[in-house]
């Protein structure tokens, strides 16, 4: 394998060429259908819907295109006219020559104007359509349910919004030219036949040969193009993975193994592309040979016709011109065939995205959750599973009264985060009801629900941009003071002031230049700026020390007045003071009550609580058993 390496790489040679059995690079899911049929009416119709707004432009460009094609057809005729008049034995016809010159000048001016208009209009229209399709998809993805987004890799969506959209763009640009090519083809056939039918007919008789060859060629070529596309997306996927996971790759020292595996994929990509290139090019000599044949026919047959006085020499010259132009459209149509296939496949994938059903949708008569609502949250016998067959929450009921602080605790994977997701209606329950402010969340508009609930998610996600922009996020009307105040409440102000540009410091990707705890604080502050009636804190302080946490809690006390808070924490000290504590295990509520009550009960909570305090040296293994086993089985 070493011989395959580009020589400038500094990779140590591997002692054995074997590939580790458990190592793969790149996601190994096969890309779905890459090449579609060249024509799919439905997809064309969908694409047309995006072109429709620009149909005036399309008409203009089509007209320009036809004019352009017309001038292309005209030029050889003008040449014929000039030549025939120049060599009339009766002597030159000067006025005819002038006429020809003027005609030619006009033709090329029109040609210029038409080409200019058509290319500009098509170019811009194709760009507009491209951006419109992308926007439509992006907008749609803002509405589709999270269960779709959970299942779909970001990279895959990105390749829809970048790669696939681009092949539609390519298709649009090309399809206009294809129309031009087809028009030219028919134009030439028409002119050739009408100028001299028998000569034209003889010349065109080479066409069927081309058709037959193409029928043989097409399926093979198609397969080769398909393979090339597929290996390409595999290679690109593997690269993307290496970039995103680079920190893990380096810390696990997997560079070498990955490189070897990647080399396999890159090499496969090279091979398929070379094969595809072979198939694409093999048509060239065939088309050229046939062009030669057609010219030979014209010369032999046309020549003898001239000698017999049946046609003028100008006709011969014009035919030669036409033959040369004649195969150009055929050639480019061959190339465009693969563009079209690709576009159809892309179009299919795009429409698939656009057609993802919006499962969670506002009812037509959905109500707006008023800011004055009481802020209560209630679960009524809720059963929910990401996969309905495997419920994550089973018959869960609890109520959070207005202004209360309620904590959710339980072993990992017991369904705490899932329950919070339901409050916001990220997913719909399978049974039971979730009520916010006394209304079933399914009867409310999602928008108004969202503005009344602020969440700190378990995994802090920050956007590229400044610290200020991140804390303010969508509340563009929030003042600087408000942002700073929120940062102060969560104790982030101090560290922000120590950053190079304070609130204007640019954050790296995902906030990478902050520590995880700092990221958590920023996302906490973001939730406070949202100024909502209900605050959901999912492990909001898990990566923060208890001291900072206490400072936050003290500051929060005032802020929480009149608001409802739902808090998830594993560090039980965090939630000791909650009004009520709900203990979840295996998706079921097993205990409820305040700290004292639960401690007195001596159930799971008191066990977890005691574990939190004592050390593992003091606790016999079995003590942890009931919860531990359960936790692992969830």
């Amino acid at each position: 394998m070493a011989k395959r390496h580009a020589n400038e790489l500094e990779i140590e040679p591997n002692d054995s060429g074997r590939r580790p059995p458990r190592a793969v690079v790149g996601s190994h899911r096969i890309e779905e259908e890459i090449f579609g049929r060249a024509f799919d009416k439905n997809i064309i119709r969908r694409i047309w819907a995006f072109v429709r707004p620009y149909r005036a432009m399309a008409v203009v460009s089509l007209a320009a295109l036809l004019i352009f094609t017309g001038t292309q057809l005209l030029i050889p005729l003008i040449i014929r006219y000039a030549i025939d008049h120049a060599i009339t034995p009766a002597g030159a016809d000067a006025s005819a020559l002038l006429e020809a010159a003027v005609a030619f000048a006009l033709a090329i001016l029109v040609n210029f104007g038409a080409a200019y208009a058509q290319e500009t209009v098509v170019g811009k229209m194709a760009e507009n359509v491209l951006f419109d399709i992308r926007r439509a998809m992006f907008a749609h993805l803002q509405k589709v349910s999270l269960s779709f987004m959970d299942k779909t890799e970001v990279g895959r969506l990105m390749s829809r919004l970048q790669g696939d959209v681009n092949s539609i763009h390519e298709f649009l640009e090309n399809s206009i030219y294809s129309v031009g090519d087809i028009a030219l083809l028919f134009g030439i056939i028409f002119v050739m036949l009408s100028v001299n039918f028998s000569l034209g007919f003889l010349t065109l008789s080479v066409l069927p040969a081309l058709l037959i060859i193409r029928i043989v060629w097409l399926p093979r070529a198609r397969e080769a193009f398909m393979a090339a596309q597929e290996t390409n997306s595999v290679v690109n996927g593997a690269l993307a993975e290496a970039i995103q996971g680079v920190r893990t790759v380096q810390s696990m020292d997997r560079q070498y193994v990955n490189f070897v595996l990647y080399d396999d994929k890159a090499h496969a990509d090279l091979t398929t592309h070379l094969t595809a290139a072979r198939y694409a090019q093999v048509m060239v000599p065939i088309v050229d040979g046939l062009t030669g044949l057609a010219m030979a026919v014209v010369i032999v047959v046309g020549g003898s016709m001239i000698m017999n006085g049946r046609v003028d020499v100008g006709v011969l010259v014009a035919y030669i011109f036409y033959i040369q132009r004649f195969f150009d459209p055929i050639r480019s149509l061959t190339l465009q065939y693969s563009v079209m296939q690709r576009a159809m496949a892309s179009g299919k994938r795009l429409t698939d995205v656009l057609d993802v059903r919006i499962e969670i949708q506002d009812k037509p008569d959905a109500r707006i959750l008023a800011p004055e609502m009481d802020g209560s949250v209630e679960f009524r016998s809720v059963t929910f599973g990401y996969d309905p067959k495997q419920p994550v929450l089973k018959n869960v009921s609890f109520r959070v009264n207005p202004g209360e602080t309620v904590a959710l605790v339980g072993p990992t994977g017991s369904g705490k985060s899932s329950a919070m997701a339901l409050v916001h209606r990220f997913y719909d329950v399978q049974q039971g009801q979730v009520l916010v402010g006394g209304h079933d969340v399914r009867d409310l508009t999602q928008e108004s629900l969202g503005t009344q609930i602020a969440m700190v998610l378990q995994e802090p996600f920050l956007f590229t941009g400044t610290v200020f922009e991140n804390i303010r996020y969508h509340k563009t009307e929030a003042t600087r003071e408000k942002v700073i105040e929120a940062a102060k409440v969560v104790g982030a102000h101090d560290f922000i002031m120590r950053l190079p540009d304070r609130y204007e410091t640019q954050l790296g990707e995902r906030g990478g230049n902050l520590s995880l705890g700092q990221r958590q604080l920023v996302s906490f502050a973001r939730a406070l700026v949202a100024d909502a009636k209900i605050l959901v804190l999912d492990e909001a302080t898990a990566s923060i020390d208890s001291y900072t946490e206490m400072v936050i809690q003290k500051a929060l006390r005032k802020l929480l007045e009149g608001r409802t808070a739902l808090v998830i924490a594993h560090r039980l000290a965090t939630i000791r003071g909650a009004d009520r504590i709900i203990v979840l295990q295996n998706g079921q509520v097993i205990e409820t009550g305040n700290h004292e009550k639960l401690m007195a009960m001596g159930g799971l909570y008191s066990k977890l609580y005691n574990l939190n305090y004592s050390s593992f040296d003091d606790i016999p293994e079995e003590e942890a058993d009931p919860t531990g086993q359960a936790a692992s089985r969830t």
């Binding site: 580009a6 059995p21 458990r22 996601s27 190994h28 120049a86 060599i87 020809a100 010159a101 080409a115 926007r135 803002q142 969506l157 990105m158 690269l239 993975e241 970039i243 996971g245 893990t248 696990m252 020292d253 997997r254 290139a277 694409a280 000599p285 065939i286 050229d288 030669g292 010369i299 003898s304 020499v313 011109f321 150009d328 072993p411 990992t412 928008e447 590229t464 996020y473 969508h474 560290f495 230049n513 520590s515 973001r526 949202a530 492990e539 923060i544 020390d545 208890s546 001291y547 900072t548 939630i575 609580y609 574990l611 939190n612 593992f616 942890a624 919860t627 936790a631 692992s632 969830t634």
Partner: protein
Amino acid sequence: MGSDAVGTTSLKSSAYVKAAGWGRGLSTLLRITRMNLRHPWQVALAIGSTMVAVILQLLIPQLLGRAVDQTQVAIGGSVTVTAAEQALWTPALLLLGASTLRGLFTMAQNYFAEAVGHRVAYELRLACYDKVQRLSFSFHDRVHSGDLITLGILDLDGVRMYFSTALVRFFLLTMLIGIGACMMISTDPVLGLIALSFVPFVAWRSSVTQLKLRAIWLDLQERLSVLGRVMEENFAGIRVVRAFSAQAYEMAKFDIASTNALELAHEQVDVYVPNTSAMTLAFFVAMGLVLWIGCDKLIAGQISVGTLTTFLTFMTILQMPVRQIGLMVNGFARAYTCGSRLFSLLDQDITIGDASGARPLEIGEGTLRFDNVSFAYPGTGNRVILKNITFCARRGETIAIVGPPGSGKSTMAHLIPRFYDVTGGTIMVDGQDIRGVTLASLRKAVAVVQQDAFLFTTTIENNIAYGDPWAKEQPIERASESAQLHNYILGLPAGYKTVVGERGASLSGGQRQRLTIARTMMLRPSIVVFDDSTAAIDAATEQRIRAAIRRFAKDRVTIIIAHRLSSLKHADRILFVDNGEIVERGTHQELLAKRGRYKALYDLQLRPGDDIATTFGGAP
């Protein structure tokens, strides 16, 4: 481009490139050319075929001219019609032959040109992949992953196309025009010069356009990557977007980025189209002049109708290539832009690599020592993150690190496997400065469970075996048992073959953390760091993991970073870090006796039921 960053800063360097003009452009293009020349045979075949194809192609107008003249001979009456008809066969067959041969050579030209491009692309892919994998963390901190992906996909493609769309086409055109010029001018100087009169105009327009397009390309690429970033972050952070009902805001962000890019895309059309149309017009003007003056000469008897046909067919042959000049110009501009961007990645210095004469790390006692270590993240000026950190840990010892967020705990962990290099002081393993040993041996000896868990999109078992891809089933299961994950996995429909990924979206926070713990338990490091890796795990489960970690820790140096004090009170030494300095150190008991910050923390967490119990939410 030297060592300047591909970062968010210098990828945005269009102004710089605009100013740099031709000289810089040439050096990039030369470099790409040199890469092409590393496949001398294929390049030679491509160029050779181009030459033959051009010559054959130029023969065609001559043959046609001859044939046309021959038809006139009979009209002149000097030979019989049948003899003249016979004579037509020769040029006809020659035409057929020339045309077919030309096709064959064009095929070879195109194929080899593409092959060279694909081979170069293959090498560049490997080079990029290798570079990306080995560039240090600080590089990746600075450069957005989306930009790097674009670089490895789109920019690489631009460089690939250079040979076939730019270089070979340039060569072809030069040959076609050059040889054609000689032939035309020797046949009829006046007509020849007229036929070629469009060339200077086209050359001038295309070089001007090339410069403009370059700048636009570069700018457009940047705007598209901004757009890409907006979309990518929206999808990756979709829960945040939904949680805040910020869809409208995100749409607005998208629209701004999108409109910016669209404007430039239109501008590109505005630059490109007038130029290609003007070039075509110039060409047609020359053709018209040839026709006009040619006919004049024909009338005057200075040339034959065959010669005129030769000239005119020559012009038609040029028509396609001239129309493609626009593409060629674009090819050069694109290769230049993409090449510059790609090379600025490939030319990045690998700041963290093996020193010259580095030797594999030799583990004896397995002692880790921080000696007066200080550190600032590269590119952040003098914002010192760690100051004078000194401590030592022997095999079998557990060191615990506590401290407020941002105090530098993770940073300390990242210095040990040299994810970053210290800026002052030294870190030593068994007396060897870690900068003096090979990186591979060091990283084999040090394992870090990262605070921010990244999982690959593959099966659970492949994820667990990531660091040891040769592993059999048993150790994998044992590791996952230690991490308290085994039972959960068995409960999944596909068990260990369940595919996870994308930062493990379908696992709960704690499950993800346990997977990364299991992944590390597969390794046999001498030094292992657990960076806050049980924060999302409940006490009971943690308890059991802790027991496994203790067994695992027996013959290694273990560093535990945690906020839950129960996780670390049995450590041999506890370091309390604040603001990059160790402010307290000692065992749990010692620190409690000190009544300092550790004690305060302990009180907050560990004393049940007193005043601070009421902190949350106000009501007791």
